[in-house]
């Protein structure tokens, strides 16, 4: 980390030079590879846990005969034009297929298998189920909904993914056999692309009942983009490919900025509205959620925490201070990290005290975009060591994070 002293130690660079470097940075690399990967892992895990937990309740929540019936959903989505493939058919089979695919896509995104394609399926699953029964969600669903859309635009599989492992293996074997161009062709990528193409045709066919126009358009652009990337990698590996790489980096970096800004907006909104409330001002606010039937799974624990007026005051004020301060601390690394830890701990507390584990996991996943790279790399190395120990494997040693970000950029799309 450069720290604030870095610019002072060297002669000041001219403005245009700095701009050029910045432009090179946002076009040359997909920034924050570990941050985007941890966000990907966090949200896919959240959705996977949620879907598995709700498996016995899935019909009641999203099924055609649930209380929010298919017909009611049709009437609402005809009005609000929210994206959901569940409006294609009111059959039970279709519903089971969509739910199953949502579970599968969450699991595959978690491990980073053909990340770019799977992230699209993941988004379609999240949007379809959530928009089908919008009155079931809470803040956790809301943040997941947004993250699912933004993640599609990121290169979130650069590290900690099967994609990264495959790319590392390929570049290793390419180094070994210099003459050989492309050791084993990946079949799964083109196959996936073809299958998703069929799905895309269906989306276009049903576009009247699928939601607003821009989402199918986005899906087409992504699909064609993946195809183009595959072609260019094989036919024009020179400048055209570099250009596509630049475009992908740009999109990634833009989406990363949006994700980070979203997290700040979440805390800013939550904090600034709170200071307007009399209960947050007099320091008793925390007491009330602890005594709501819907948010007190452990009444004895809630009672214990709510019994001390001073404790409630400290936590109430602390919450507001942390939420309002957080966006501003981004300009100071240490302060940011302290607040980040505080927020994650608070969410962990909320998970237990208010009985909102899925909400908390989603919020922690969003916070994770601000975790420092050094911490994430160390965490990754530790997890890898733990995994190797459990599996009784000898550690590979050389590449603790499977693949260093920014080095040789192998094809990272589904067909790569």
């Amino acid at each position: 980390m450069s720290g604030p002293s870095a610019p002072r130690t060297r002669p000041r660079e001219p403005f245009d030079r700095r701009i050029a470097r910045a432009v090179q940075a946002v076009t040359g690399r997909a920034l924050g590879p570990h941050q985007t990967a941890i966000v990907r892992i966090g949200f896919s895990l959240t959705w996977l846990v949620f879907l598995l937990r709700e498996l016995p309740h899935r019909h009641e929540m999203y099924g055609p005969d649930g209380p929010w019936s298919w017909e009611l959903a049709r009437r609402l989505t005809a009005d609000n034009r929210a994206f959901t493939v569940l409006m294609w058919s009111d059959g039970r089979v279709w519903f089971e297929v969509v739910y199953g695919l949502a579970v599968l896509s969450a699991a595959l995104l978690l491990v980073g298998w053909h990340t770019r394609a799977v992230s699209v399926v993941f988004m379609v699953g999240v949007l379809s189920l959530q928009n089908r029964s919008v009155f079931l969600g809470d803040g956790g669903d809301n943040v997941l909904h947004l993250a699912a859309i933004y993640l599609v635009l990121t290169r979130c599989g650069q590290v900690w993914s099967l994609d990264a492992r495959r790319a590392a293996r390929r570049s290793a074997s390419r180094a070994a056999v210099k003459a050989d161009r492309g050791p084993r062709e990946d079949i799964a990528g083109p196959l996936l692309w073809t299958v998703l193409g069929g799905f895309l045709l269906a989306t276009t066919w049903f576009s009247d009942v699928t939601g607003e126009w821009w989402l199918p358009v986005l899906l087409w652009v992504l699909w064609l983009g993946h195809g183009l990337w595959w072609l260019v990698c094989r036919l024009a590996p020179g400048e055209p490919r570099t250009l596509l790489d630049v475009l992908a980096n740009l999109t990634h970096n833009a989406a990363l900025v949006v994700i980070m800004a979203e997290v700040c907006l979440i805390y800013a909104t939550a904090g600034w509205y709170k200071i307007q409330g009399s209960r947050w001002q007099d320091g008793t606010a925390l007491y009330y959620p602890l005594h709501l039937d819907y948010f007190s799974p452990w009444p004895a624990l809630s009672e214990l925490l709510g019994a001390s007026g001073i404790m409630v005051l400290l936590l109430t004020y602390g919450t507001v201070i942390v939420q309002i301060a957080f966006p501003f601390t981004l300009f100071h690394r240490k302060a940011k990290n302290v607040l980040l830890v505080a927020m994650m701990l608070e969410h962990a507390g909320i998970a237990v005290l208010l009985g909102l584990p899925v909400f908390s996991l989603a919020m922690i996943s969003a916070d994770a975009v601000f975790l420092p790279t050094a911490f994430l790399v160390a965490l990754g190395a530790r997890v890898a060591r733990g995994r190797d120990r459990v599996l009784g494997r000898r550690s590979a040693g050389t590449l603790p994070e499977q693949r260093r970000a920014g080095e040789e950029h192998g094809p990272r799309t589904l067909v790569g």
Partner: protein, 288 residues
């Protein structure tokens, strides 16, 4: 006017929905939140651009391109930049309190945001909910033996609370379904109980179907034919903390919904099936 109608259609915020008392608005000027690229960007390399990015040497980036390609990349950069700024501005205006800009251009903001980017982060704000709202139902049933009778009030929220108690991972069906449905109902009806537009109608159907689903699971109504149902919302203020000098009114207030005739459309068969399927695990959860 069409546009205002559309806004009201959405005004009660479908997503999110942590309990909050929506109160007064004052200006919360927080658009600093938008400029956040700095930190992670710095860690990942935006700022080290000042020191270490090897221009072009990684074989990528705009420096590695010839002029025509550079033009394309530059245009893409500009488009991406503008898009990010516009999107963040729209999201900011969406979550900010009503202000001069949103009063003038609210429609443009809504067009951009709804439905997919809708968000509500007033988590327990401005004030946390300070009352427990219970939904109770009673039914007019016909049984083979003693003809037509009206049941006592059955507390549906108490069923949820029971299911949530000592449950480390409550389901949305227990924590959100009824809670948000009654919110939706109250938001889409005027105080005298008239529905506002289609959403009012939808919320009535929804409440009725939830009620029928819950009644379906009751052993006491086994074999009875439910003809009509009535719901009511009971609001009980959370008592003031013991350590506080405040005194608040403990008395519950009631809001009766009209009697509704039950039709076949209100009987959620499939959901009942799923209930039966869920019954086994949820019973063990309660037993723990």
């Amino acid at each position: 006017m069409v546009s205002t109608l559309w806004i009201t259609e959405w005004a009660d915020r479908d997503r999110g929905g942590m309990d909050a008392d929506v109160g007064r608005d004052i200006d919360a000027d927080v658009d600093r939140g938008v400029e956040t690229g700095a930190e992670t960007g710095a860690e990942a390399g935006v700022e080290p651009a000042v020191e270490t990015v090897p221009a072009g040497s990684a074989g990528g980036g705009i420096m590695a391109l010839s002029l025509p390609y550079q033009v394309v990349a530059a245009v893409a950069l500009a488009v991406a930049g503008v898009f990010v700024c516009v999107h963040l501005a729209m999201v900011f205006l969406h979550v900010a309190p009503s202000n001069t800009l949103t009063k003038r251009h609210g429609q443009a903001v809504d067009d951009w945001i709804y439905p997919e980017f809708e968000q509500n982060w007033k988590l327990f704000a401005p004030n946390p909910l300070q009352q427990n709202v219970s939904v109770e139902v009673r039914a007019e049933v016909v049984t083979a033996g003693d003809g037509r009778r009206t049941t006592d009030w059955i507390d549906l929220t108490a069923q949820d609370a029971e299911a949530i108690r000592h449950n480390p991972l409550p389901s949305h069906t227990q924590q959100n379904e009824l809670r948000r449905a009654v919110d939706f109902y109250l938001n889409s009806h005027s105080d005298d109980g008239t529905p506002n537009g289609t959403r009012g109608q939808l919320s009535e159907d929804y409440m009725r179907r939830i009620a029928m689903l819950r009644l379906d699971g009751l052993a006491s109504l086994e074999g009875a034919d439910v003809r009509r149902v009535q719901l009511r919302a009971v609001t009980r203020p959370v008592p003031a903390p013991r350590w506080s000098t405040e005194k608040n009114d403990h008395t519950a207030s009631y809001r009766d919904f009209p009697w509704w005739r039950v039709t076949d459309a209100d009987l959620p068969d499939g959901a009942a099936r799923s209930r039966a399927e869920a019954a086994a695990p949820s019973r063990t959860e309660a037993g723990r």
